[in-house]
């Protein structure tokens, strides 16, 4: 590996990061993240223009990760077929024939490979040899350099909690679509769909086509929200659309959901409740790299802002603008599902944060709650200044779990906006962090790190005087300590 030599013209802090970060092991003119139609098209266009192109797609993710709702909200409704890695790779190729065509064009394609971070020199960061995208598969992690980076990461499911949603069988529409049409690995038999916009209608028709019984669609507004031809098709398939209605709770047993109870009291037998309220452009990488983001209600909420160093393709750039106000629609759902929820309804599944504890800004159960703490709440925080979701996350742990906030970041933002009486988007969203996918230590680790990193390593700043006992400062002993301590650097 090459190293950028620190300038010889000034004294160099051997414990500083300068010159220690490795150069990427490969470099491509164009790296495309996401192997859906938009990503494939971008990759093929680049190769046709004579560029070297790498296309990575995280699918298929390992079965264990799918159980943790990576990358979509699978809700535990996968069959064991998802545990067979070879079969899973095969299904990705057979369901996306353009992938093979892209490979024949000369695109290098890596499946089962996630992009977990993008590193760029910028504010407070100037020690990278060059900008890189960080990748990992099931064996290792590595860095790849790029001339141009295209993000085609798609969209993921918006989850909004209600009583009983934290059990197997509550899942998202994107996840259901992937299990049905790509992997043929959906374990449910009868599904109730929440929502009636195009996403919900299309999901209902797909499920019907794949032989899954569709118990109906639940729509809180007074009329179906999707395009008339899709509504017609769903009605023609004898699938009821229950308007003015909300799922009040999911009931079930050891295998998860068995039925849904609606606000009207109606009971609907279903082993799966599919949330099809909305899609969120998958901008975790954008957030984690500190790139700009804007709120566009017609395009699905938070979408990437203009960034000279990035290009976006497909749904991650924003949903197609059909004039539908996605944010107003999902806020209606958040309000109504909040109204049927109780204080003990879980919001953050990983950390088991309840709605009452989120709004009350209370700590997890393993900590005591003295009176002074119980008197604190979102209200008292708002009195101290504008609310900040990251601050509330730190105090309540909502969004701090192993799903990295993908299940609850947006619903926490909606709940906070509703409770604060402020428009969605006015409270800063919680941040996403690198790695934007959970990656085991042993895989993330750089087992071939450069000698400069090893030699210059120190536990803190590498300032020997910082570690001299106070009483020895200015004495003969100080020198002894400093020699002994400094010898211990680069442990």
């Amino acid at each position: 590996m090459t190293q950028t030599a620190p300038s010889a013209s000034r004294k160099f802090d051997v414990h500083a990061l300068d010159g220690k970060l490795p150069a990427p092991e490969m470099r491509y003119d164009v790296v495309v993240v996401g192997g859906g139609p938009a990503g494939i098209a971008a990759a093929r266009a680049a190769v046709a223009a004579g560029k070297t192109v790498l296309l990575v797609d995280e699918n298929p993710v390992p079965g264990a990760a799918m159980g943790n709702d990576v990358p979509l909200f699978f809700g535990g409704r996968m069959t064991t077929a998802t545990l067979q890695a070879d079969r899973m790779v095969e299904t990705v190729f057979t369901t996306e024939p353009a992938l093979e065509a892209a490979m024949e064009d000369g695109v290098e394609v890596l499946l089962g490979t996630c992009a977990w971070g993008v590193y760029r020199n910028g504010p407070a960061f100037a020690t990278l040899p060059e900008n890189v995208v960080a990748l990992a598969d099931s064996a290792r992690a590595w860095l790849v350099g790029y001339g141009e980076l295209v993000l085609a990461t798609g969209a993921r499911d918006l989850a909004i909690g209600f009583p009983g949603w934290n059990q197997p069988g509550v899942m998202g529409a994107q996840a259901l679509t992937m299990l049905l049409s790509r992997y043929e690995a959906f374990s449910g038999r009868r599904v109730l769909i929440v929502g009636s916009h195009d996403l919900a209608l299309e999901t209902a028709l797909l499920a019907r086509d794949k032989g899954v019984a569709v118990a109906g669609l639940v729509e809180l507004r007074d009329a179906p929200q999707g395009s008339p031809d899709l509504v017609e098709a769903v009605r023609g398939a004898q699938i009821p659309i229950l308007t003015g209605e909300v799922v009040a709770r999911a009931e079930g047993g050891i295998d998860g959901v068995e039925r849904a109870v609606l606000r009207s009291g109606a009971v609907i037998e279903a082993d799966t409740i599919c949330l099809a309220i909305g899609l969120i452009p998958a901008i975790e990488l954008v957030d984690a790299m500190g790139a700009p983001r804007v709120l566009d209600a017609a395009r699905g909420g938070h979408v990437p802002g203009p960034d000279a160093g990035l290009r976006f393709a497909g749904l991650c750039a924003g949903l197609p603008d059909t004039g539908f106000d996605h944010v107003a629609y999902r806020m209606d759902w958040a309000r109504e599902l909040g109204a049927v929820s109780a204080g003990d309804t879980i919001v953050c599944q990983c950390e088991e944060v309840t709605r009452a504890d989120l709004i009350g800004v209370q700590p997890p159960n393993y900590l005591p709650r003295p009176d002074a703490l119980q008197a604190r709440s979102l209200c008292s925080l708002l009195a101290d200044g504008p609310a900040n979701q990251d601050q509330i996350k730190r105090l309540t742990r909502a969004g701090m779990g192993q799903c990295q906030g993908r299940r609850c970041r947006d619903q926490v933002a909606m709940i906070l906006a509703l409770e604060a009486g402020k428009p969605f988007g006015s409270i800063p969203l919680a941040s996403h962090r690198v790695p934007v996918r959970p990656i085991p230590l042993r895989i993330l680790a750089d087992w071939e790190e450069d000698e400069a990193m090893r030699a210059g390593w120190d536990v803190w700043f590498g300032i020997p005087t910082q570690w001299t006992p106070y009483r020895d400062i200015g004495t003969e002993r100080e020198r002894e300590h400093q020699i002994a301590i400094a010898e211990g650097w680069s442990l």
């Binding site: 000034r10 414990h15 990061l17 020690t127 790299m289 742990r397 230590l441 042993r442 680790a445 910082q466």
Partner: protein, 401 residues
């Protein structure tokens, strides 16, 4: 409670609180910076009866105070004994949980590390702080996630760790409960001086009149104090940490070594940092960003080596904080000669754990004019008199940008 090897405190923390209760009654104090040092100072002053206003450019504990390893074991400091006296009582005194936990284990996976830790153990025992040496098997018994590669270690029978984010919020809330004010999103833009004193502090949220000022604004101290004609040499750097998903709880969460600092949180996550830092330029408004770097991978490696039985755990986030250091890496806690009612507090990268004591020292400087419980003369600003203006360059502490 007292620690083995620690001198018996002359006074319980509760008795200290009772003794100081009215010593600053009526005094208006403005604290610049709602980090852990400023907040602790504000809390001690509010406990003394002062009318405390804490101003911050952003949110409580948003910089290094809320982004660190949570360690409370800087035994080199003259403030350490006071820190050890206070920490076990802080939850009760503040009224909010800090997740403070006692003691630490430091474990070696290379012979060089083991030698280093043995040196440090002797250094501590010489100071009267008890450190027990452990062999590999003893470490493996106490640290279930340790592996066959562990060669031994040491058990600090003192020190500990706490949750930085919960702690900073606890200080802030406790100040409010005592009648003080926390004004966020309120960067200080100027000072009013009269007769050798600062009598008012300006910010976009208004002018705050004061009898005394504490400047505890981390790297921004330099720019603020320059407005008062005082040179405070500090350099800022970015340092990084990683966090895993929860692991089974170990009997003692304060476990580190192999060039890492960190802890297992009470939730079970492993939160660890260490390794190279990046010097950056300081802007008046604070850091322009706090990005992490591919150093994440080197931290992952170190942690997998330290705790091999956790190597399968997922890393779920990384973060960075911006920390200031003085030229010798030691805190600056000092009351200025002119303006004479200004106290500067930079803890130079070792502030979190020492905070219960640093606040006491600052309170003493504000109210009594001197630190009453320990000698902090070697932490005075005057030790940098005559420092070369290009000291950052001479020490190699310049931004790579």
């Amino acid at each position: 409670m007292t620690y083995v090897g620690m001198p018996t405190p002359r006074e319980t923390p509760q008795d200290t609180m009772a003794r100081i209760a009215d010593t600053a009654r009526g005094m208006k104090v403005v604290i610049v910076g709602a980090g852990v040092s400023g907040l602790s100072a504000g809390w001690w002053l509010a406990r003394s009866g002062a009318q405390v206003t804490v101003l911050d450019k952003g949110i409580v504990g948003w910089e290094a105070s809320g982004r660190n390893g949570g360690g409370a074991s800087h035994y080199q400091s003259p403030l350490f004994e006071e820190e050890q006296r206070m920490w076990p009582l802080m939850d009760e005194l503040l009224g909010y949980p800090t997740e403070h936990s006692k003691e630490r284990i430091v474990m070696a996976v290379t012979p060089k590390q083991l030698n280093q830790y043995h040196y440090l153990a002797k250094m501590n025992n010489d100071m009267g702080y008890r450190v027990d040496l452990l062999d590999g098997d003893q470490v493996r018994t106490m640290v279930p996630l340790a592996g066959d590669n562990c060669l031994g270690g040491m058990h600090y029978r003192f020190g500990g760790h706490a949750n930085p984010q919960r702690t900073v919020q606890a200080y802030a809330w406790a100040i409010q409960d005592l009648g003080g004010r926390i004004v966020q999103h309120s960067p200080v833009t100027g000072f009013h001086t009269l007769g050798g004193k600062v009598v008012g502090v300006d910010s976009p949220t208004g002018r705050y009149d004061c009898d005394a000022v504490v400047v505890a604004a981390g790297p921004q101290i330099t720019g603020l104090m320059a407005q008062l004609g005082v040179d405070v040499p500090l350099a800022a750097a970015r340092a990084e940490m990683i966090v895993t998903e929860p692991a089974p709880m170990m009997p003692l969460g304060g476990v580190d070594g192999n060039g890492l600092y960190g802890r297992q949180t009470l939730r079970g996550n492993l939160a660890y940092g260490g390794g190279p830092h990046e010097w950056i330029d300081t802007l008046p408004g604070g850091p322009p960003g706090r990005p992490t770097s591919p150093l994440t991978r080197n931290l992952a490696r170190r942690l997998a080596e330290l705790l091999p039985k956790a190597a399968h755990l997922n890393v779920i986030r990384s973060w960075a904080g911006v920390i200031e250091n003085s030229p010798d890496g030691r805190p600056i806690i000092d009351r200025m000669a002119d303006p004479e009612n200004v106290v500067v507090a930079s803890m130079s990268g070792v502030g979190f754990g020492l905070s219960p004591a640093s606040g006491h020292a600052v309170r003493d400087l504000v109210v009594e004019g001197r630190c009453t419980f320990t000698d902090i003369a070697k932490l005075s600003l005057s030790r940098f008199d005559g420092l070369a203006p290009n000291w950052r360059e001479q020490q190699g502490w310049l931004s790579a940008a």
